[in-house]
């Protein structure tokens, strides 16, 4: 990647709408077309540039100097368009403004800081699996009963939210992740609840709404120490509530879907429960719960001889990079013997998911609890996707299990 003037080359162009229902429900064919078309593809419908190969996506993710986030990581360009809500201090910020919020949240969510949660979350996961098996028997919906239920049990408590209104979290996240796409039907469907959901989430970010010793009150304590301003604290709490729920729910759903369709891999996990963390990351690579994010060029930049003009939007296909055959052998296979390290499902660089260790801990707790109690897990019906402009989401994952003897 250089900043030298580009030679005139004809750039591959695609008329596809990556946010159309056909591609959101089944993104792999489009991903393959885009990867094959070239390292950079012009998406004519939105006049943006697409990166779908691992090398280019990885390079753009780590190069915050050239590919900025403060102009928005959705289609809307904050240089010209008003954001639908005050921008995130983490996701939609560049250095230097990004530094303090990132540092504070990174320390609160670092692996050593999470050790205290491990035993509690393990117990909650075991109770949840026991309850589901006792109440539902061998047939249940692995999406609603496990993937959705477990994060909603542990994460809001860890943040320190009160008991009321937690059912607003998923609809709010769904709305926020839709908002990174174009103003299509998915965005319009959220419009009637936008004000109500935003008001509820904003109210939970206040100091008084948060219990002591949760992630939320630790953010406020950082503001008391001057590491953040008091004006920044509620927005950093908002980031936890926006980015910490739906992503994990659909990441866990992706993992359970992977195992329900790969019985040999489930056996491998049962034999080696210590591979739960690797299994979760392999599922994140394979399904990429966060499919796409945009960046904006801070300068005229040349990628593989293609000139991307300053100020234009670049759409990075994380899901396509995570299945790029130039990076991954047998990329479409869910395989626990693979090393998924280096996948970009959590992003990469200074904006890499700051909650990734929280997600892994949730996954480890749920998967090990399930692996101890369930010998086989299989689909009993067609799993149903829920469409979202950014998240590869689920609506139902009907399964049958054989409890372990």
């Amino acid at each position: 990647m250089t900043h030298a003037p580009a030679p005139a080359v004809s750039l591959p162009t695609s008329d596809a709408d990556p946010f159309a229902a056909e591609h959101l429900s089944q993104p792999e064919p489009l991903h393959q077309q885009l990867r094959q078309a070239g390292p950079v593809v012009h998406l004519a419908r939105y006049n943006v540039y697409a990166l779908a190969r691992y090398r280019e996506v990885h390079t753009a993710l780590v190069d915050w100097q050239t590919f900025q986030s403060a102009a928005g990581v959705g289609l809307a360009n904050f240089r010209h368009e008003k954001p639908w809500r005050p921008p995130s201090l983490l996701l939609e910020a560049d250095p230097p403004h990004h530094d303090a919020p990132r540092r504070v949240l990174r320390e609160i969510l670092a692996p050593p800081a999470l050790r205290k949660l491990r035993a509690t979350w393990q117990t909650v996961a075991e109770e949840l699996v026991d309850t589901v098996l006792a109440d539902r028997g061998s047939q249940f919906d692995a999406f609603t009963d496990l993937a959705r239920a477990f994060p909603l049990r542990v994460f809001p408590d860890a943040v320190g939210l009160g008991p009321e209104g937690r059912d607003n979290l998923l609809p709010y996240g769904n709305m926020a992740f839709n908002a990174f796409g174009p103003a299509n039907d998915l965005v319009k469907a959220d419009a009637d609840r936008a004000a109500e959901l935003s008001a509820w989430v904003n109210a939970q970010c206040a100091r008084e709404a948060l219990s002591e010793d949760g992630f939320g009150s630790r953010i406020w304590a950082a503001a008391d120490r001057g590491d953040l301003t008091h004006a920044q604290a509620p927005l950093v709490v908002r980031s936890l509530l926006t980015a910490g729920v739906d992503t994990t729910v659909h990441g866990l759903a992706a993992t359970l879907y992977a195992f329900a369709t790969h019985p040999d891999q489930w056996q491998r996990l049962r034999e080696r429960p210590e591979s739960a963390r690797v299994a979760f990351d392999e599922a994140v690579r394979w399904q990429s719960p966060v499919q796409t994010f945009f960046r904006t060029a801070t300068t005229d930049v040349t990628i593989a001889d293609a000139l991307i003009p300053e100020g234009t939007k670049i759409l990075m296909f994380l899901g396509a990079a995570n299945r790029d055959p130039a990076r991954w052998l047998d990329a479409d296979r869910f395989d626990l013997t693979r090393d998924p390290s280096g996948h970009v499902g959590f992003g990469m660089g200074i904006h890499q998911c700051v909650g990734q260790h929280v997600a892994r801990l949730e996954a480890e707790a749920l998967l090990t609890a399930l692996a101890r109690r369930v010998e086989r897990i299989e689909l009993t019906g067609e799993p149903r996707r829920h469409l979202n402009n950014t998240l590869r989401s689920w609506a139902a994952l009907p399964v049958t299990v054989r409890p372990a003897r």
Binding site: Y54, R55, H58, T59, V62, D63, W64, Q65, P95, P96, H97, D99, A100, R103, R106, E107, A110, P111, P112, R225, G226, D227, L228, T229, Q232, E274, S275, R277, V278, D281, D324, A326, R327, W328, L329, D330, D335, T337, R338, D339, P340, S341, G342, H343, F346, M348, G349, I350, Q352, Q356, H357
Partner: protein, 327 residues
């Protein structure tokens, strides 16, 4: 884990922790600046103002130096080193022996001196203590904060970058050489506490003590200081090969000087998940059962390093001949 199931693009360097001296320049009496880059020209780990790196000198001693370059340039680090005649030999080695082209071990960057948000900053530098404040000043300019720099030193000639700072920033910069003006007039600068100002001070211990005293009446957390511990000498860092035992799998592997622990343990079949492989994301954090790690990461806190019960094998190494990991 099957090693050849990987086609790594871009190819990672096996060892991320060796950089090359690209330039060495004298910038004041007794002060040289070093420009460091990856031998392959790769991007270096990102950093924030106030960060330092550990420089691992060829005989195994480790010294900490503040990064004073431009973080918008991802390919080079810049540090400035004062010759300390009463020091333990690290600065003399840098001054007398290190030359462009030489390779040096590097740990970090780590930041114990982060620039927090504020409307106004007062930066107070004593001598070489100017180095961490330079990127802070750049940043204060970028965000449009109001700032002043009080810069003391033995003499004008000993004060690195004095002219550049004055030329660029005019009357925000207050130069106060001791041989002309005496000790810094802290009382007149710090007399009136201001809740909207953060005070950042780096310099010799007597200056830090004087500033702490002068800020006693200021609101808590107004003053941020950087002191490099000159306390106990750490055990010299291992530059040779060492052994890593994987206790759970019962395997042992030799880690060569140009290989990371992460790479070595994967070669003998350990499943260690990683992500950034630069010591910044924390994904590969691994429990240490025996031995003393040579921590080179950017994220563990001091008490976590001192406990020596975990390490980031993508960059960190061993201080002794042997490490035992819970793998």
């Amino acid at each position: 884990m099957v090693a050849d199931s990987l086609l790594r693009v871009p190819q990672p360097a096996l060892s991320r922790v060796t950089l090359q001296i690209r330039a060495k320049d004298t910038i004041a009496d007794g002060v040289v600046s070093l420009t460091l880059a990856h031998p392959d020209g790769a991007r270096l780990p990102d950093w924030t103002p106030g960060s330092h790196i550990d420089l691992v000198l060829p005989e195994g001693t480790t010294r900490q130096y503040s990064l004073c370059g431009d973080r918008w340039d991802p390919y080079t680090y810049r540090i400035a080193v004062l010759r300390e005649p009463a020091g333990r030999g690290g600065s003399a080695y840098v001054h007398d022996r290190l030359a462009p082209g030489d390779l040096v071990g590097v740990g970090g960057p780590r930041n114990h001196f982060p620039l927090v948000p504020a409307d106004r900053y007062l930066f107070i530098a004593g001598g070489i203590g100017i180095t961490p404040l330079l990127p802070m000043i750049h940043q204060a300019e970028l965000i449009g904060a109001d700032w002043q720099l009080l810069y003391g030193g033995r003499s004008r000639a000993s004060m690195a970058l004095r002219e550049e700072l004055s030329a660029a920033h005019g009357d925000r910069v207050h130069i106060s050489p001791q041989d002309e003006c005496g000790l810094l007039d802290l009382a007149s600068w710090l007399d009136t506490p201001d809740p909207d100002t953060k005070v950042y001070c780096c310099g010799p211990a007597p200056l830090l003590a004087a500033v702490e005293q002068a800020c006693a009446a200021w609101p808590s957390y107004s003053l941020r200081t950087e002191r490099f511990s000159a306390g106990a000498l750490p055990e010299p860092v291992h530059q040779r090969a060492f052994e890593v035992e994987l206790r759970r799998t019962g395997r042992t592997v030799t880690v060569m000087p140009d290989t990371s622990v992460l790479h070595a343990v994967r070669q003998v079949g350990a499943d260690v998940l990683s992500s950034c492989e630069q010591g910044t994301c924390g994904t590969c954090l691994t429990p240490v059962l025996e031995g003393t790690p040579d921590h080179r990461d950017s994220i563990l806190a001091d008490h976590e390093r001192a406990a020596n019960d975990c390490m980031l094998p993508c960059v960190s190494r061993s201080r002794g001949d042997r490490l035992v990991l819970d793998l």
